[in-house]
Every structure is written in structure tokens, then in C-alpha cells.
Amino acid sequence: MVANQNPGVFSELETSAEGIKTQEMLLNMGPQHPSTHGVLRLVMTLEGETVVNCTPVIGYLHRGIEKILENRTVMAGIRYMDNCDYLSPMLNETAYASAVEQLMDIEPPRRAQYIRLLVNEMQRIASHLVGIGTYLMDLGAVTPILWSFRDREGILSLFEALGGSRFNVNYMRVGGVLHDFPRGWLTECAAFLDRFEKNMDELGGLITGNEIFEARTQGVGYVDQQQAIAYGLTGPMLRASGIKWDLRVNRPYGAYREVPVNVMIRQEGDCFARYKVRFDEIFESIRLCRVAIERMPGGAICVRTPIALRPPRGETYFALESSKGELGIYFISDGSEYPWRAKVRGPSFVNLQILPELLRGHKMSDVIAILGSTDIVLGEVDR
């Protein structure tokens, strides 16, 4: 016996029916672990390989974004929203800008709304690609992540041409967007979407029918409808449990008031259903992008707003359908240039709460399958 077991981390010995002494093991997964998608720490009690209990510990990536927002002018805050859910910056920016617009009662021009729809849907594709790719990586398939990142790179190149930066684009403005399209951008975007759709068919052929993948995900991490609602799940997590709830349809905002969206739902409520919902949403987003390109109206891209933006005294809540669920901004202004409070309702944070409930009773390998299927981003959980 090695003098290694710290007695504090083991519970007392229990004797099983066969007279074998067993003990539960406390296992720390993370914060440095390959598949916790950042710095999530899971403190798990294991009985053999079965999870008896699990406590997620968060806060390792806390940067105080909400506090930073209070200390920056409203315009400057948009840039910090990029780092919130760092896999979908465009959606975060849109949420923040739209919340301010709602408070100031500004209606962006139609062209700006369509541009927002286009880049938001592309961002949703990029985010889902990362979600699917890393999920398959967790399950041990090494190819899908590289294929999906290759296609995501196409989207980021388009963003770079549009906003000057691949990732933290800082493209949205209160009242519209920063730049109009460069020459030929829309054609390039349409060509990319055609290429991308073919690649997605190939990716689906690699993953979806795979028996090992199905065996790993089907029936694992089951969330029923009541549970999903009780835990406040949103986004693909909710829709995979058979509830038709999508803010783009239920509370349409911006150009979604004119462009109808097909909501993708699955009834199974397991990991496979969550994967499939994301996968189908990618195709739906491709369709929406094409609609936006086709209907792209002319005109201004931004309303004229004062340089020192002073939202009126008051408060507002604006939520949009982010790639992971309902991304809400609760914005309180005291009439100055600085927001008095800007609270972010991050979907990842809310979706993470159900994790201990899902993990209980599963094998240790399933921990990865379930955690990956919730598709959380620690930047948004910790903020």
C-alpha cells in the first residue's frame, strides 16, 4: 500500500453484501482537465466508476465583466461583451446594443437589422460548430473537431473582412452596426454557405449514423420536460426535451419579425437529441443567412446617435436567442453615460445547474458525454 491516500478524501469503509470492503472515492475533475471546456471543476463522489454525487465549482474564470460594464461608457461596454460568451461575440454585442436601444427607444434601420440577423446566424453556426466539434472530441473522435474548425475559420475570415477582427469583432453599435459590407462580401458569403452546406453533409455522415456515437449518447443524460422547465433551461437544451421555445419565434426582435424561423425540436431529451438539435439548427441558420442575403435592404446602417450616449433614467430587460439559450441583459441607467447596472443572464450558467442532477447514477465516461452536451462556455458562466 502506497502512503498516498489522504484519509480526508475517502469516506469510511462500507462492507458490501459479498463482504468486500468498499469505499467511495472523491475525484476532482478540473479545473485543469482536457474536457471541462475551460476551467470548470467538478468534485465527484465515485462508487467504482459510478457517480454518486457531483458538485460543480465555478468562478475560476471570473473577470468581473458586469462590474467592468458599470465603469465603462455604454459605447465602450460593447467591446467587453465580446469576452462574455467568447464563442459567440456577435450575439453578445447584439444583446447589449439592443438593450440600450430598447431603453433609448431607438429603432435601428432595416438594413442594420438584416445585417445583424446575418452575422448573428453566422455566429450561431460558428458556436454550434465548436460545440459539436468539442463534444465529439470529448467522446474520442478526433476528426470532427478539425473539420468543424476548418469551416468555422471561413466564418471568422468573413467577420475579419467585415469588422477588422476575427473574433472580438466589436461590430455592433447602439442604433446599428459599425461598417457596411466591403465590396463583394455578400457574394463571398453566399459562396461560403454553399461550400459549407456540403461540408456539413459530410460531417453529418461521419457523426450522426455512427453506432458508437449513438450508443454513447442515446438515452444518456435524460431531461424530461418538467425538469427542463423547472431548471430554467433554454436553447438547445430545452428544445431537445421537446419544448418549442425559441425567442426568435416567441418574442421576435429585429429582423426576426419579418423572417420566420423554423424551431428545431427533438423529443428524446438525451445527449443525442441535444447534439441533433444543434446540428439541425446549423442548417436552419444557413437558410436564414440565405434569406437575409436575398432580402438585404438598402439604406443606412446606423441611426445618428450622440457621441456621449446617455440612456434615459430607467431600466429594461432585453433577451435574444443566443446559440446556447436565452441571453438576457438587464440594464439600469441613472441617466449618465455609464450604466448603473448591467446584469447578464448567461444561458450557460443557467444550463449548468442541471448538471449534478444529470450526472447522478451515470458512469464516469458519461460525465464527459453529458457535460459536453450541455455546451457551456465558462466565460459566460463565470463572467
Binding site: V2, A3, N4, G8, V9, M25, L26, L27, H33, P34, S35, V43, M44, T45, E49, V52, N53, C54, T55, P56, V57, I58, L136, M137, D138, L139, G140, A141, V142, T143, L146, W147, R150, L206, N210, E211, I212, F213, E214, A215, R216, Q218, G219, V220, Y222, D224, E268, G269, D270, P356, E357, R360, G361, H362, K363, M364, S365, D366, V367, I368
Partner: protein, 465 residues
């Protein structure tokens, strides 16, 4: 007088030693030992590079390309780095076991190469070993000891889980692996050239049985040149394709390759039993693993794909001239290495395609599907021979009938596996999991059993999350 006698004895001893060292047998042994040892070590390096390049090709990226032309020297640089690295071992490890485990893992792999015939000349005395297959299987089972030692000694929970998973997996998959080879061994007793019905489990014996078949146009110069000793229509994979499939699958599990790489599942166990290792000790595990890959492929090609036999080998070595013989041996070596690397390519291909199985699914697959199938194959092979032999039907008809039956079994096997996985996952699991969740939740009330964090255990009123 006595001293003279001793001197005389010594002289004759030295004389014999001198003759022995200069003998052709000894020279053959030295050449072969060096080339095989070099092959094992180089093959691992080459395979790592090949794996990275092939996977890069399949994943639409470039792979290593900075070191040397097209990145060919990348693994050489890697090995250099590993050799120069500090040999770290974490505190509170079981030091002796920790330091010894990599050697225990690597030694059987190198020892296993002793019985592999590489070409008509490059054949260690061991390749004529009458118990070749038993020796190989024994060597490949010894690996698990090193893995368990590493997992235990590392003083790391991930390592421990990895080591134990590996032990369970290797022991479970050893059985269908051996049972799959039994099918081939049964064929050898049917095909016994002396007609006595005595089979062989020596590797060169089994290989020779696959290259002594008749070929059309015997006596024609061209046909003799190509087909002498090269008769692909008698290779055993035609008669026992399902056993090749199962052997290969078990080989994947034996060598801890995807989709059976649970012991070192990166996303779950960080690196399994390898977690605490670094530098050359880590490299020894790696070397052993890739050596294992080579052995599994080599056995598959020897038993099912005719080993080193290929066009012109037997003809050129049969000429009994040194240069043509050398050419023939080089060709044989080339064919053999080509077959090995072809099978290794499939290893890599599978790795870049498939996700990983779960531990219980892995065990289910071995015990509920593979072992019954291999047992069934043994019964079918023996039963068919008994029936046809009793009817006085020739061996050729038996082989053809068995081949047809076995090919049908391949498709049936794939169908059964498909049905089994879909049936178990799709219908059965969701309600079962719900019930299990409820049961576990009832047994362990969630709030009371929430694990106390070590750093919070002293803090009064600190909730876990």
C-alpha cells in the same frame, strides 16, 4: 601435464568459439537481431510520423512540416527531446514500481518479435518455435502487468482508474483474440501436408501452408517466377474472414487504440496510466504501444495474409545465388513490411473515424458478442469438417464451403452488431436511466450527500457550491 591439458582444452574451446562466431548461423543471428531491434525502434518512430501525417490528411490539414523536408524529421526531433528531458517522478509515488513499470511494459513487446519470420533468411531461430502462437499470446498478455504497475504506482486517481480499466480490457479481449486464432489453427490440421491431420501453431509453419498451393500454368517460366510460393487464393483470410475481423478488433483493444483507448482516454482520464510519466519513461510506453501495433499487424499478416510471401520471392531465393537471394530477401521484407504498414494504416484510419466506447459497452462487446461468435466459428469449422469428411468430400470442397459460410457470417455479424447496439440504446435505455436516477436519488438524498470540498471542510456554514 595437467596445465598443458587445460591449455589444450582452452585452445580448442577458443577455436570452437572462434569458429562459432564466424559461422554463418551466428552471423545470421547477429544480422537479424540488429535488424529486428532496429525495426522495432524505427517502426515506432515511423508509425508516429505516419499517424500524424495520415490523420492530418484525413482531417484536411498539413500535419508536421517544419522539421526536415515535409516534416519527416519531426519524430526524430521528438525522440531527441524526450531523451534529454528530465526524468520527473511525483512525490509519494511507489518509486521502485514506478521506475520499473515502463521496462515491464516494453520488454515483452520486444521479446515477441523473436518468433516473427521477416523473410526466408531474416528468421530468428525462434520463428521455428513449435509453440509460436502460444508464445506470442503470452507475451502480449504480459503487457498488462506493466500497465497496472504504472497505474498503481503513480499515486494518481486518474492513473489508477486507467490502469484498472486497462487490466479489465486486456484480459477480456485476450480471450476472443486467442479464440479467433484457433480457427486458423484448426485449418492447419486439415491442411497437414503429411496427411496425418497434425496441425501446427508455429508461425512459419502456418505461413508456409498458405504459400504451397498449386497455381495455374505450373512449369511456365513467367508463372513460376510470379506465383511460386505466392498463392493469394490459399491465404486464410479468404477462408476465415470473420476471424481476421475479430482478431483485428481484439488487436485494437489489446493495443489500447481507438475506439478502445479507454485506459488513456484523454478527455476522461487525462492520460490514464501515462499521466505521471514524462521523458524517456513515457517514451518507452509509447514505444511499447506502437511496437504492439506492429506485432498485431504482423501476426494478422502472417496468419491471414500469407506473411512475407509475394511475387518472385520463392523463385529468387530458390536460385541459390547470393545476389539473387539477397534481392529475393529484400523483396520478401518489403512485402511483409508493406502488409504490416497496410494494416497499421487501418489502425490510424479507424482512430480518426470512430469515437470511443464506454467501459461497460466495451466489456459487453467482448463477452456478449465476440466470444460467442468465435466459439461459434470453432464449432462451425469443426462440425463442417466432420460432416464433409464423413461424406468423403475432399478438403478443397471443405475449404470453399467454409469460406462461403464464413463470408456469410461476416455480414451476419455486422448485422447482429448493428441490431444489438440500436436495440440496446434506442428503446431500452431512456426509461432504465430514469428508473436508475430515481433509485439513486432515493438512496442518496442530494443535499446531505453533496461532497464537502477539502478546503471548505473547516468552514462553518459554507455550502458546497
Amino acid at each position: 601435464m595437467e596445465s598443458m591439458l587445460i591449455l589444450g582444452d582452452l585452445g580448442s574451446f577458443i577455436n570452437e568459439l572462434y569458429n562459432g562466431i564466424l559461422s554463418w548461423q551466428f552471423l545470421q543471428f547477429v544480422v537479424l537481431f540488429i535488424s529486428i531491434f532496429g525495426f522495432v525502434l524505427t517502426s515506432a518512430t515511423l508509425l508516429v510520423l505516419a499517424e500524424r501525417k495520415v490523420m492530418a490528411w484525413m482531417q484536411d490539414r498539413l500535419g508536421p512540416y517544419h522539421t526536415g523536408p515535409w516534416g519527416l524529421l519531426q519524430t526524430v526531433a521528438d525522440v531527441g527531446k524526450l531523451l534529454l528531458k528530465e526524468d520527473i517522478h511525483a512525490g509519494q509515488t511507489d518509486k521502485a514500481v514506478f521506475l520499473f513499470a515502463p521496462s515491464v511494459f516494453l520488454a515483452p513487446v520486444i521479446a515477441a518479435f523473436a518468433v516473427l519470420p521477416f523473410s526466408p533468411y531474416l528468421t530468428l531461430p525462434g520463428s521455428a518455435l513449435a509453440t509460436g502462437i502460444v508464445y506470442l499470446v503470452a507475451m502480449s498478455s504480459l503487457d498488462v502487468v506493466g500497465v497496472v504497475m504504472a497505474g498503481w504506482a503513480s499515486n494518481n486517481k486518474y492513473s489508477l482508474i486507467g490502469g484498472l480499466r486497462s487490466a479489465a480490457q486486456m484480459i477480456s479481449y485476450e480471450l476472443p483474440l486467442v479464440l479467433a486464432l484457433v480457427g486458423v489453427v484448426m485449418l492447419t490440421s486439415v491442411l497437414d501436408p503429411h496427411g496425418a491431420g497434425v496441425g501446427t501453431i508455429s508461425l512459419s509453419g502456418i505461413m508456409n501452408l498458405q504459400s504451397t498451393g498449386v497455381y495455374p500454368g505450373k512449369g511456365t517460366a513467367l508463372w513460376d517466377f510470379v506465383f511460386q510460393g505466392f498463392t493469394p487464393w490459399t491465404w486464410f483470410f479468404l477462408v476465415q474472414p470473420l476471424m481476421l475481423l475479430i482478431y483485428y478488433t481484439c488487436g485494437l483493444a489489446e493495443t489500447n487504440r481507438a475506439p478502445f483507448d479507454l485506459p488513456e482516454a484523454e478527455s476522461e482520464l487525462v492520460a490514464g496510466y501515462l499521466t505521471e510519466y514524462s521523458g524517456m519513461r513515457w517514451a518507452m510506453f509509447f514505444l511499447g504501444e506502437y511496437g504492439n501495433m506492429t506485432i498485431v499487424s504482423a501476426i494478422a499478416s502472417l496468419l491471414f495474409l500469407g506473411g512475407f510471401s509475394g511475387p518472385a520471392v520463392a523463385y529468387l531465393t530458390g536460385l541459390n545465388t547470393i545476389w539473387w537471394g539477397l534481392l529475393g530477401n529484400l523483396l520478401a521484407l518489403g512485402y511483409f513490411v508493406f502488409k504490416i504498414y497496410g494494416l497499421c494504416f487501418v489502425f490510424i484510419w479507424i482512430r480518426s473515424t470512430l469515437p470511443r466506447l464506454r467501459a461497460d459497452q466495451l466489456m459487453q462487446f467482448a463477452w456478449l458478442i465476440l466470444i460467442p461468435t468465435t466459439l461459434l466459428n470453432i464449432v462451425v469449422t469443426g462440425g463442417l469438417y466432420l460432416v464433409l469428411n464423413a461424406l468423403g468430400i475432399s478438403n478443397l470442397i471443405f475449404l470453399i464451403a467454409l469460406g462461403v459460410l464464413n463470408w456469410l457470417m461476416v455480414f451476419a455479424f455486422i448485422w447482429v452488431v448493428q441490431r444489438a447496439t440500436t436495440a440496446t440504446t434506442r428503446s431500452a435505455q431512456a426509461p432504465a436511466i430514469r428508473a436508475r436516477q430515481r433509485a439513486v436519488a432515493a438512496r442518496v438524498p442530494a443535499r446531505e450527500a453533496a461532497p464537502q470540498l477539502p478546503e471548505q471542510s473547516g468552514v462553518a456554514g459554507g455550502s458546497a457550491s
